[in-house]
Symmetry: C2
Subunit: 360 residues, 2 copies
């Protein structure tokens, strides 16, 4: 079990990673009351163990349906109402026990309930453990626009136990690994090279190896958000692969791809784009492409309309005045943030990757 | 025209008060786009003048219906959607042109749209000009619970032109004056004594006098929030009269009283409570009561169930573990913040004020 420390304008917080991490909840200060936000299936399977570890015995959770639909203002309002009914006040604590949906929604509710109460992230998916649970970004979706409304509000603690990953479906597990690959590209040859070795044989049940993986990948995120909480500039790098990824998710109505799968395509696309823009050598491009594909199969891009994707790119939250801010890999461990990329290169990258003409 | 300066964790902002204040918008930095959130009737009457003053010619406003119903998550979502559709990005500016509802909703949307864009408060009611537009508290209501969900996020500027108050109904105008009385009690004999002189003859069309009044009353708020943005302790004093006020509003389903009218009753009740608790002398109690009543008539408390009000008090946002935090006037210019008030005194104060047995 290891502890990482995130620096934040609100004073910083610990990220506890490892088997037994949930027990760190016992070290928290006293609250007037504690509530757990989670999903029914997850709580059925892990609730008793989580409650025991965190000394939350008898806790009746606040439940939201599994799935992206819960990440809405409607559900934010329902959760706030339930908290009020059950007596939550300004000194109450909310623990978000779940994946990205529960974490984003829980953080949003906590940061706005009575104008802000403390909260803890207890992430239960690989994506949440290495990425979304840290940094204090909270959000809900508005219509088809993901994360349009949200806050930046640091949790009081993050507790990640990799054993819970064993209940992920293989597909969801792989989806999270694509984000780990992203962290490998951002981090440098050390993590990237290690991933090249272990990813092909990795299983969701290998808790010892996952503990190391989550720790190493989470550290990348911790380092970045500690230096740039508000996403002024540095934090942008975390969007590597996400600019295309978001557009692809939206173009397919969020039905064809899991988030990480869209990021997988986003990583391939931006790798090819970096090659076309002349900032990345093909040998490194090949390494990235090979590691992405080593994670496993992803639904194809067949039928996704290029024009729609290109149009959606300009509506990305990081776009300013319609100008897309690209994060291009330059080499393993280094990216370039630039809006100076010709539209033709973007279109060509998409065409080549979609058709399979380029595959690293 | 005068400038007050609010200190804030985000760096502080100017509050411009006076005839011509809207022109200060011209001094703002450049934004990728600017949007005005307002209500149809208000914009019909003042939109052209406001646009001219702020050089926002041709601006098509984002409209929400007049009234408390717009202060909801549903409308927050609708406004965010419209902003997205119309191309608002992270460097856009939102101007809230209206009273408390538009200001609270606009601030909430701005503080959460793409996780936060800049906004300006252009308050058009006396309540908003002396109170709610400053301090960065934003909120929406959840069901019957007012302001249950919100943020603390400082505006970039506040521009208050008292001439716009001329379109307030006499009742709404009086309602705002009760908040001014509250500021008089908090501030001290100087402002309070001046209010005793001018309030009886005050008219919504007397722009010169209103300019002084708004300036003096706004300064009270500016001083408090500059010293305590997060309402850790000091800012609590601004809730003078609001603990009872909120409970009375809720007990009557927000139908009988305007907010300021409920605060008027709240001021009378807490004045009597302070007398009963032995912290306020009856002569000062009489002065407060007389100034509240000098503002004008308020719908009566007849039929409001005491038990319901007393129960709702314990659900106040400032209540911790069911303990109500009372703000009791001790003398003009000094209040005591305490949860050490016997329940019997609270019940008795309500009974005496409701029945008219006590009227200062």
């Amino acid at each position: 079990m290891r502890k990482l420390r995130v620096k934040s304008s609100a004073g910083g917080y610990d990220v506890i990673v490892g088997r037994g991490a949930w027990q760190a909840l016992r070290r928290m200060k006293a609250y007037s009351s504690t509530f757990v936000l989670t999903e029914p299936g997850l709580w059925d399977r892990w609730g008793a163990r989580f409650s025991r570890a965190g000394v939350l015995i008898g806790t009746r959770p606040v439940l939201v349906p599994a799935g992206e639909g819960s990440k809405s203002l409607v559900w934010a309002g329902k959760v706030a109402s339930e908290l009020l009914e059950r007596g939550a006040d300004r000194r109450s604590l909310l623990i978000a026990f779940g994946g990205g949906v529960v974490g984003d929604l829980g953080g949003f509710v906590a940061s706005t309930y009575m104008r802000g109460i403390d909260y803890v992230q207890a992430p239960t998916t690989i994506l949440a453990q290495v990425d979304s649970s840290m940094g204090g970004k909270t959000a809900v979706n508005i219509g088809a626009m993901k994360n349009l409304v949200g806050t930046i509000c640091a949790p009081r603690m993050v507790v990640s136990d990799p054993r819970v990953l064993a209940s992920m479906t293989p597909r969801a597990f792989r989806s999270g690994l694509y984000e780990v690959v992203k962290h490998g590209i951002l981090s440098g040859p050390g993590l990237f090279g290690w991933l090249e070795k272990i990813v092909p044989g990795l299983r969701a049940t290998n808790a010892a190896l996952l503990e190391r993986l989550v720790l190493r990948a989470a550290r990348v995120k911790v380092d970045v958000v500690s230096r740039d909480e508000r996403e002024a500039a540095l934090r942008h790098v975390l969007n590597l692969g996400h600019t295309f990824g978001h557009a692809i998710e939206e173009a397919t109505g969020y039905r064809r791809f899991l988030h990480g799968e869209a990021v997988a395509w986003g990583l391939l696309l931006v790798t090819r784009l970096a090659e076309l823009a002349g900032v990345l050598d093909p040998a490194t491009g090949k390494r990235i492409s090979r590691l992405v594909r080593a994670v496993g199969p992803v639904p194809g891009l067949a039928g996704v309309r290029a024009e729609r994707v290109l149009e959606l790119l300009t509506r990305d939250k990081k776009a300013i005045g319609g100008k897309v801010l690209w994060i291009l890999p330059e080499r393993i461990g280094k990216v370039r943030v630039t809006s100076d990329v010709p539209a033709e290169a973007v279109a060509r990258a998409f065409q080549e990757v979609q058709s399979g003409e380029w595959n690293g």
